[in-house]
């Protein structure tokens, strides 16, 4: 949920108009959206998601004085987030193994119709390679175009398309009947 305080509205406006903004404002206003993206990248691991967001904003903080020169600090933050996620997963890849079994379902507090399906989806995302997961999150959550996704991930557009298609196929295989359930919703 976006913050709708006067502070938040003013900061968002300033982000859009490229005027200098305070880092704290930026972190408060954009932190929520970044966390949601991180939550999907982390496949529902909220601790990892918070870690990713703090690292992303930490890197932003470290060079905040130069950020007004960026065309799009929000997009920059999202790109940093994805890069942090992929580099962290790469570092930890030796100790991570995809599981054949879906992770145990977690309780959800959102008032959605089918939290179980949501948890199943997150568990299925967890089985994807980090870069494939990032492609899906950018394409279907961030609504980025193929070209924008390719730029953020430093891939070719062709690679993004093929990874996206392959990842969705993989999800369909993992989710089985749940995927059909998603399609029927």
């Amino acid at each position: 949920m976006e913050h709708t305080t006067a502070l938040g509205t003013a900061a968002r406006s300033r982000v859009r108009t490229q005027e200098p903004i305070d880092f704290q404002e930026f972190a408060v206003v954009r932190g929520g959206q970044l966390f949601r993206t991180a939550f999907l990248l982390a496949a529902g691991d909220s601790h990892l998601a918070e870690d990713l967001v703090q690292e992303t904003l930490g890197r932003m903080f470290a060079r905040w004085g130069r950020l007004p020169r960026l065309d799009n600090p929000v997009g920059y933050a999202q790109t940093v987030l994805v890069n942090v996620f992929i580099s962290q997963r790469r570092k930890h890849s030796s100790s991570e193994r995809p599981t054949e079994m879906l992770a145990e379902r977690e309780s959800s507090t959102a008032g959605d119709e089918d939290p179980a399906l949501r948890v199943t989806l997150l568990a299925a995302l967890r089985q994807l390679a980090p870069q494939d997961r990032a492609v899906l999150v950018l394409r279907y959550w961030e609504d980025r175009s193929v070209e924008e996704t390719a730029t953020a991930l430093r891939l070719s557009s062709t690679a993004v398309r093929s990874r996206s298609s392959r990842a969705l196929e993989r999800l369909r295989g993992v989710l089985g009947s749940s995927m059909a359930e998603i399609a029927e919703r």
């Binding site: 905040w64 020169r69 999150v137």
Partner: protein, 320 residues
Amino acid sequence: MSSDIEAAFAQELRAAAESAVQPAPGDIYAGAVVRGRRIRRTAIVKRTLASVAALGVVAAVGVPLLTGGHGPTVVGAAAAPTVKIKTTPTADDTKKAAAAQAGTAWMPAYMEQTLKSLLPAGSDTSIKDDEGDNGRIQASVPTLINIKGTSGGRAQTGLKTSTGTSAVVLITSMDNYQVHCPTAAEAPHETCTKTSVNGGTLIVDLGFKNSLNGQGATIWDVYWYGPSGQSVHLDEVTDAAHAATQAAGQALTAQQMTAIVTSPAWDRIGQSLPAQCKFGVMAGTVNSPTVIPGTVGLVCATSRSAAIPGNGEAGISIAG
């Protein structure tokens, strides 16, 4: 996979994202600041110590500055500076760089002389040889100065006492962003004060590379934000390995650093620097109303491709 399934997948993904229980914004912010400070300080240590080491030279500054008098005060001075243009790939770029150089050519020498003049009394700024007759390492040429066409100038030098070696970087700029003192939770081993001085703001931040546990190189930052928008930043880094004790390794005291950054002598540079230009600077027409004061025909670039190469840096580098 059909677009219907893709749309349904996107919808379910949104639902999953919205289901996330968010941490408090304050927690995210606080964690980010701690990490950001660590990143920034690591960068400062690398920048200062590594680049001074790359010069292969270290000046000596008098022990009396800090410890009350154990020997002569010596500061190595820059040799006759040489000017080199960093990037001149095309004739057009050469012209633009030359314009930038002409507008800021006086700054390196001015910065160097000003910094020397502001060092504590008794400092020796004479040039030393790298090796003396007895084989001992002497203090030598310490100064590296860069002038950025867009945001300011930088003077860097090494200062040495009998108890340690410090790297000192002085930056003058017209950036409008001000740093903030960390909270006690963010940096429990750091002492930071913010005061109003002469219509401006003075921030004295004394800490370490790792301000959470007080470990690593000692980093002292002093910032001066003048009333006209100018800023002067002096940071002094002493590698803990080179200092008998961390504080004793610092060549300059906080008071001496404060005296340096608040000197009106820096105003001349501040007044001659362009306000922040989004894309850097480029050569303009002499009669252009937007010509940046103190420069020869420099204006804010209209695009990145039009800017002088080097992300707006004027490409003037003077190394002693």
